[in-house]
């Protein structure tokens, strides 16, 4: 398939690519030849208006037909074959095996929502009429759900498939009955175009209104503003940095009509290393955490960025012989042997290096180890350490470094570990690493840290998010702008639906699931 570089506006490939922007080959840092068109104001507007027109029929589509559509998208993505894998690898620097796995996850989550639709997307709540009730008769009331309308979705830099064009936000919005206007990530526009072409084929195969999906390419920030402030857009899904997410959030706040903004913004995913666990399994734990940190060069929202330990000899980590010191030394040694892979973009590599430099200059923070530099890029994994007081005094240490950098926070005792939890901001996930001997401490940590995270893990690392009904990928701010929702798993569909009560309605006017 030839990449056109154009936008997909309700079935039409449009846009002027001459003089357009290019993606970079993550491995060579050279621009990739194809130029891409920045979507114009008119194209953005047309995409949204056509999506809103398509909403009328798409929102009425039976659950079975929506399910068939989602499965068709998955089939068409698979049908793209190696071309998709090659495009994504070139644009992100991620290895083919990772992209193949991510493709499986993407197709799998489309299937998960299809399964959900076929099984009945929500439980029917029906309170039948009771004409004899005193003092007043009880009317028949039934609780149903309606899709919200056009959804704007922003692709993520770090998951070119699973959190991008046909990723979780798109899948859950389409499953809910909402048309999607997708803003591609400028780092992987060819991947986006390929996936968009698969969605278009699925639309054609299912005979749907082509306004159901549009893809907007662009590097121009005005495109994003236009999407989130457009009166016909009724919800927005975003996965990215806190900085960009909060710009969009502020623009949404200016709307006359409030709409939900589902922003997944950043997380340091604290790891709690209980003392007996460190004593018994310190070396294995260090290996496990370093391996989790190195996944995707740490450019993963659930990367374990902060590790809290109880260091009995405060600050005495480099020449003692206690279990904490052994753990730290082993973690530093392990990390120092890690070769850097390729980062997603040259800009992200530069940002990572800048953030690492900034961290070096924070008072009370010490660089423990540096990994091996990459072959293509000047960057490497880093392991820092600090004490609780410095952590509390430096809010910057709670900001995610997007990349393979971890910070060990030394707590002098368990009370300090609880203080650490008290000052923590919101996170997507936290893990407690413990053995039976740690149980009393682990329980206190679990109770306190539960209120700071969307997912609480015991003796496993936070990377690797299961896509299933019981998953929650969200959490208190800044992990998410909307604490009550998840962007992964079948509950994600609820973000794009809302309740409606049908009172005394004739059977013929009720949704299928509420008839009886």
């Amino acid at each position: 398939m030839t990449i056109t570089g154009k936008n997909l506006i309700a079935g039409q490939w449009t846009g002027e690519t001459e003089g357009g922007f290019t993606a970079f080959d993550a491995n060579t840092h050279q621009p990739i030849n194809t130029p891409f068109a920045d979507a114009t104001t008119e194209e953005v507007n047309t995409a949204i208006i056509r999506a809103n027109e398509a909403f009328t029929t798409y929102s009425q589509l039976s659950a079975a037909k929506r399910a068939a559509f989602l499965r068709a998208i998955g089939e068409q993505i698979n049908a793209l074959g190696d071309e998709l894998v090659e495009a994504a690898c070139a644009e992100t620097g991620l290895p083919a095996m990772r992209i193949q796995g991510e493709r499986g996850r993407t197709v799998g989550q489309l299937g998960l929502f299809a399964d959900l639709l076929e099984a009945g997307e929500y439980p029917a709540v029906i309170d039948k009429a009771d004409a004899d009730r005193q003092p007043l008769p009880k009317p028949d009331t039934r609780l149903g759900y309606l899709p919200l309308g056009v959804v704007g979705v922003f692709a993520a830099s770090n998951f070119p498939l699973a959190f991008s064009t046909a990723g979780g936000d798109t899948a859950s919005a389409l499953a809910a009955g909402c048309p999607v206007v997708m803003k591609a990530h400028a780092a992987h526009p060819a991947t986006a175009e390929l996936v968009a072409s698969a969605i278009l084929k699925a639309i054609e195969l299912c005979g749907l209104d082509k306004g159901v999906f549009s893809l907007l390419q662009g590097k121009n920030y005005a495109i994003s503003s236009q999407i989130v402030t457009h009166p016909l857009v009724k919800a927005v899904g975003f996965t990215g940095s806190e900085r960009v997410g909060m710009i969009l959030q502020q623009q949404i706040y200016q709307r006359p009509e409030p709409i939900p903004f589902y922003g997944e913004l950043g997380s340091i995913n604290p790891q709690f290393l209980m003392p007996a666990k460190v004593d018994q399994d310190g070396e294995e734990l260090a290996k496990t955490l370093v391996a989790s940190l190195m996944m995707g060069q740490g450019q993963i929202c659930t990367s374990p960025g902060v590790w809290a330990v109880i260091a009995n000899k405060k600050g005495d980590h480099d020449n003692g012989d206690d279990s904490y010191t052994r753990f730290v030394n082993f973690a530093a040694e392990t990390l120092s042997e890690q070769p850097a892979g390729v980062m997603l973009t040259p800009a992200m590599c530069a940002s990572y290096n800048k953030a690492v430099e900034a961290r070096k200059s924070i008072g009370g923070v010490e660089l423990l180890a540096t990994g091996l530099s990459g072959e293509q890029q000047q960057c490497s994994a880093t392991l820092f350490t600090t004490d609780l007081k410095s952590f509390v005094n430096s809010p910057l240490l709670q900001e995610e470094i997007f990349g393979f950098s971890a910070l060990i926070v030394r707590c002098a005792d368990f009370a300090e570990m609880m203080q650490f939890i008290a000052v923590l901001k919101g996170n997507l996930a936290a893990s407690i690493h413990a053995i039976d001997k740690d149980f009393d401490l682990a329980r206190d940590v679990a109770q306190a840290v539960a209120h700071k995270v969307g997912r609480l893990i015991y003796n496993q690392v936070p990377t690797g998010v299961e896509v299933c009904a019981s998953m929650n990928h969200g959490g208190p701010f800044p992990a998410s702008t909307n604490i009550r929702t998840t962007s992964v798993g079948s509950e994600a569909i609820k973000r794009f639906q809302r309740p409606i009560c049908y009172q005394n309605m004739p059977q013929e006017l009720l949704p299928a699931i509420l008839k009886c």
Copy 2:
């Protein structure tokens, strides 16, 4: 019980009442003697800090104990006896029978949440581990819910019990495991104090931390701002005007940490009168709608404020003999015979009269009928009419008049009725009044108007909101600031909880409902 006029701050009655504000007797328009203390900045802060301290134990309380607490509040409210009814009648002008009914509803909805807690407040979603899954083992993941933290609640003017101190927001927040800091409405502070004293007794009987509930009195707007912007407040419930609600919303937007704001702001609750129904049952329909409009002097959020009809002879409503004209004439005649009851406060009476005057001067709007003036107040019900074009051109006509005023919108044909729906803003409820002959039209109306309302009703009036599991009292803006939630019915609890995924957790650290 002597009314102290003080604030209830975590079990302590505090505040300087000398020189404080007074409520008005709605019947006599005279100030009621007791002075009430405006809560000070320090009192507001103490209430919130103590609520947050109480959150630690209250959020851990078993569902059974939370249920017992809710029932105890209901029992203590009933134990206040006639004193509560008398206080509420004096402060609101509502008749005793209405207040007694509202007390029943208030106690009933505390019981509804208690039932929900006892039955298991959410369905357990458990995906067990699968060590053999390929390519990676599946971890054990379980979806639970946690309370958000301290909830700020604002009492409503028009429901001194059911939407105030121990009303739906308080009941659902306490049910969810959240402490409540309540801002009493300045129009009924004695009613608020009585109910707060009942909650305090229930807290004592159940042996709970007294920080679980505080009542703040006041007329000073700074109290409200302090509540909604306080970093320890994690959600806000509000029922009131769009003007005040949007001031609070804007203040919440300024917070570094976004929190959910559940504002129920206003609604005109359109009524769709299908032609065959008007032809067959016009007189009965007119009576029914006028009776619904007169409930509580129209000071009810589900009051039927706009009635859409198909008037074949456009503008020819006063001397024709068609069914539409007969309906309008009968509605006007019926309304003109309605005696005005007492409005909630002198200020609301004045606001109503001002809004009615403003409506009279809108181009294309005609006053059809005026009800009988009240004995105590100079105000009366009003019925206006306009054509679709004038409705479209005057956005003011979509703003709720808080009081017994309705507007008949004449649509020249069914196409105009569909245009009317297209321009409608969000509403709490809409009703379709139809007989079998109207069915095809009614179906089109139902499909279109569903996207504009939180509750869609067939052949019943919108007033009288059932408190049950299938109720939805919310809807698109401005009906609600949060389209995905309801403030009435058992689903209201979800506003104050959020999901958390427990991964690979030992049984001992799981909530009871997720153990197995």
